[in-house]
Symmetry: C2
Subunit: 209 residues, 2 copies
């Protein structure tokens, strides 16, 4: 199945299920019924079952889904078992914040390097992540087996960062710059967008008043 074939919104739900199952696992749940899970997430049971069937997962009738096993299956479907290494371009506040964020570690991913052009920053460390010279991104990223590139530079430098990451052979880019990037077809780009959360929170506020 090509990745274009699953709508982005379905993927968002699969990611949501995965996170929820991770939380349930941490709290010691062994089994969860599709009713419980769908009630918890406010998603219709039929839709939940259909979504989960994407990754070949079917609960046992009257028993429910085994939490850890379903999480593992979903994780495998999402490719999370690869535990990929991340390189972040841009050691400004956003790059630094992402480098020390524990979410990636919890997902089994690790930040292997930050890259910047600023000579004052090159060589220093944040958390356990070292800042490397952007000019040497290609060789450094290859040596450190980086597979995911994160772009945390201003929008005028974002395409240059993307080109360098593509030259280094990375597999995909998570782009925080507010600009459309051009990459070869086999290097997917996911645009992060902080405004989404704000739009949704704002709706909740409007309804809660």
């Amino acid at each position: 199945m090509k990745y274009e074939e699953i709508p982005h919104v379905t993927l968002e739900r699969l990611a949501l299920y995965h996170r929820t199952l991770q939380q349930l696992e941490e709290r010691g749940f062994d089994i969860i019924s599709s009713q419980q899970l769908s009630g918890f997430l406010n998603i219709k049971p039929e839709k939940l079952r259909r979504d989960l069937s994407y990754c070949g997962s079917f609960g046992t009738r009257r028993v429910g889904y085994p939490v850890s096993e379903l999480k593992r299956q979903l994780g495998k479907f999402l490719g999370l078992h690869y535990h990929r290494r991340i390189g972040i371009v841009g050691a400004g506040h956003l790059g630094m914040a992402l480098a020390i964020d524990k979410t990636f570690l919890e997902l089994g991913f690790s930040v292997a390097a930050l890259f910047d052009k600023n000579e004052k920053l090159i060589g220093s460390e944040i958390g356990n992540v070292k800042i490397y010279d952007f000019a040497k991104l290609e060789s450094t990223a290859k040596r450190k087996m980086i597979e995911i590139g994160v772009i945390a530079v201003p929008k005028d430098s974002a395409q240059e960062a993307a080109d360098a990451l593509v030259s280094a052979g990375i597999l995909g880019i998570w782009n925080f710059a507010p600009v459309k990037l051009f990459t070869p077809k086999n290097v997917p780009v996911l645009d992060a967008d902080l405004s989404f959360g704000l739009r949704i929170l704002n709706y909740y506020i409007t309804q809660a008043e």
Copy 2:
């Protein structure tokens, strides 16, 4: 309609439509058919029409949706016309990154203050945003008419930040700390989760290989 009644995933789509319409407007589009919009977003036309009917918007058959008007209607449904003022608790890398992010401005929101306990930071500015003493959050937030609180502190300090924001009368919280916060029922909390993007990008990578 109570905010619980629209599933979160539908809201995500409404936010997506709003952003897309904003982009189309910037590029000078006047009219877009539901076919075009649904093709562009990879969402079924029937679903798109049903989603848009939530906010009372119906395109004209054979003519399509007027881009600016639909954006305005959606924006109003999401409460974006209130142009709320934001206060960020935590002037670490994440708080700083959020304070200078232009996304909020583009949405018509503004960051009115940062709050921190670190005396070395209090009084300084980043971008045009001043850092205030967390101990005086209540009076400062009221004076600056802050309506949205963003929590960008470590998880051990997050509930304390939430309590201070609630005391200051803010309307909703966007929480970047990886912890469940407790607030009164009329103060909704939206948990930001950076791991979502990574899960989704990773799936794209797995499929693109």
